[in-house]
Symmetry: C2
Subunit: 327 residues, 2 copies
Amino acid sequence: MSREVIIGVDLGASKILSGIGTSDGQILQKTKQLTPHGNASSVIDLIADNILEWIKIAEAQHDSVKGIAVAVPGPVTYPGAVIEDSPNLGWQRVEFKEELSRRLGRPVVVDKDTNLAALGEYHFGQDRKYTHLLYLTVSTGVGGGIIINDRLYHGWRGGGGEFGHMVIDASGAECSCGRRGCLEAVASGTAVTKQIEALIKAGRGQNITACGCGSAVGAPELGKAARKGDPEALKLIKELGQNLGIGIANLVHLFNPQIVVIGGGVMIGLGDLLLEPIKEYVGEKAFPLHRRDLIIETTTLGNDIGLYGCIAAIAHGYKEICDLGDV
Amino acid sequence: MSREVIIGVDLGASKILSGIGTSDGQILQKTKQLTPHGNASSVIDLIADNILEWIKIAEAQHDSVKGIAVAVPGPVTYPGAVIEDSPNLGWQRVEFKEELSRRLGRPVVVDKDTNLAALGEYHFGQDRKYTHLLYLTVSTGVGGGIIINDRLYHGWRGGGGEFGHMVIDASGAECSCGRRGCLEAVASGTAVTKQIEALIKAGRGQNITACGCGSAVGAPELGKAARKGDPEALKLIKELGQNLGIGIANLVHLFNPQIVVIGGGVMIGLGDLLLEPIKEYVGEKAFPLHRRDLIIETTTLGNDIGLYGCIAAIAHGYKEICDLGDV
């Protein structure tokens, strides 16, 4: 039987996840490859080839392609879905949407990865629809996506939702952006690694390093050590949770959402160990009006959340479900 | 000639400003009275009398009353525009809108003062309409209002825009809300007074106290001393501007507005002395995408901004210009 299928690509700094799915949020097939080190043009070529391959697969199965969406690292500006100065890709002002659709000869939806993740969570992560949903990713960095009044929020030029660059501790750790105490600087995979390294330098953290292989230590080793009951690891996770709690309480005071969903490698890896101190902080410190009936959860979509977002964007009509108007 | 007029009331913790205006944003008459210390019921009685008086004045001039709006201190929840736990008024769960409209026998629009101020600024403060406008008030406390995609944003239950309770310095000054380093705790009229008191306690700040009469010192004395060139006063204002700059850069990264308008007694009193360090911080530290073409201004509506907001809410059809649907 012929179906309508959707092609999604999640472009990350280290890998490209792509796949094919259906409008009801089923991923039928997916594949992962390394992001080549190279200029934007060669990466866009690769993605175009990738998509053409998926189109062939669909056609071989007599499926029709409803649409194509690509999640890219931000910031992305509108109109045009241009990738601005991307620290993760090392790109500057790449007209990604135009370049890719020219190569494919058909339109594509392009949006920031965390924005599409928020759409994925809104449509496929929850049993019901929450009109106001914030998605926070805690990974190497920290980012976000905003659903308000059932639509994806971009802001004036697409820069909305940079949750990682909200200063919460003005005299805190240095951030890659040049400021101090951004949420990303105190509560991300990178921050965790630095914190463990500082422990090691101070002659401590042996149980954490013992959980790693070789010299690399980060959130996975932290989680392993904590699950074995190591007090230093548990303390670091608690502090991480409190810092994320401060950030989330801030967001909750600003946006007053119904639900905050947290994803990203660090969050998914640490799971309830990290979710509990976050919920404890927000449950105690946010205003009663804002915390009452507020839901805070870890995403159930795992690392495929960007792909689910691509599917959602096409399945539900991107123009209809975001605030950009005629993109 | 008979006109259509609008009645507005701005209920503050210390005074009630009320007046009558026209849909094009002219305030025809206004009056100010002290907010009585008493229970909610007696204050609502007074406001009702006040409005009935304005209705009489309108009728005597053969004007018809298009509508009535009241700005109240937050937080306000929806549906019902209920004043929750208000620290400024000392009220708890007052069904303000229902109580007032029952007394008047006609509908009233009720919203948080800073929300209506944002509407006032959007409609009457600017020559043109900016689709994404943030309003920040720096007064005794710090609050905000959010216009996105040309509509006033409330969030799920009306709690959006609590800019004052965004932590920017987790190890900073204690806030009345029990946390540390909220924007209000480090950059408000109350914060300024505490900072001056700390100076005095350390045997300094003589030029600032010399600008006051009696023991009370705050933002007005700070401004006077700074205008006379006092270096301590100038330093305090610069720090205040940097803290506000951190808060505004955060907001700009989250909401990506076109314009940020700042009002409130402290801002209006200090004027460019305070605006300059704010603009300097945001212009240097916010992301290029977010700061490019961003406008940061002091409101031109002064202390009447809440009244202008009431007029805007009625003139432009409150339901049409906010996100609450059928309020």
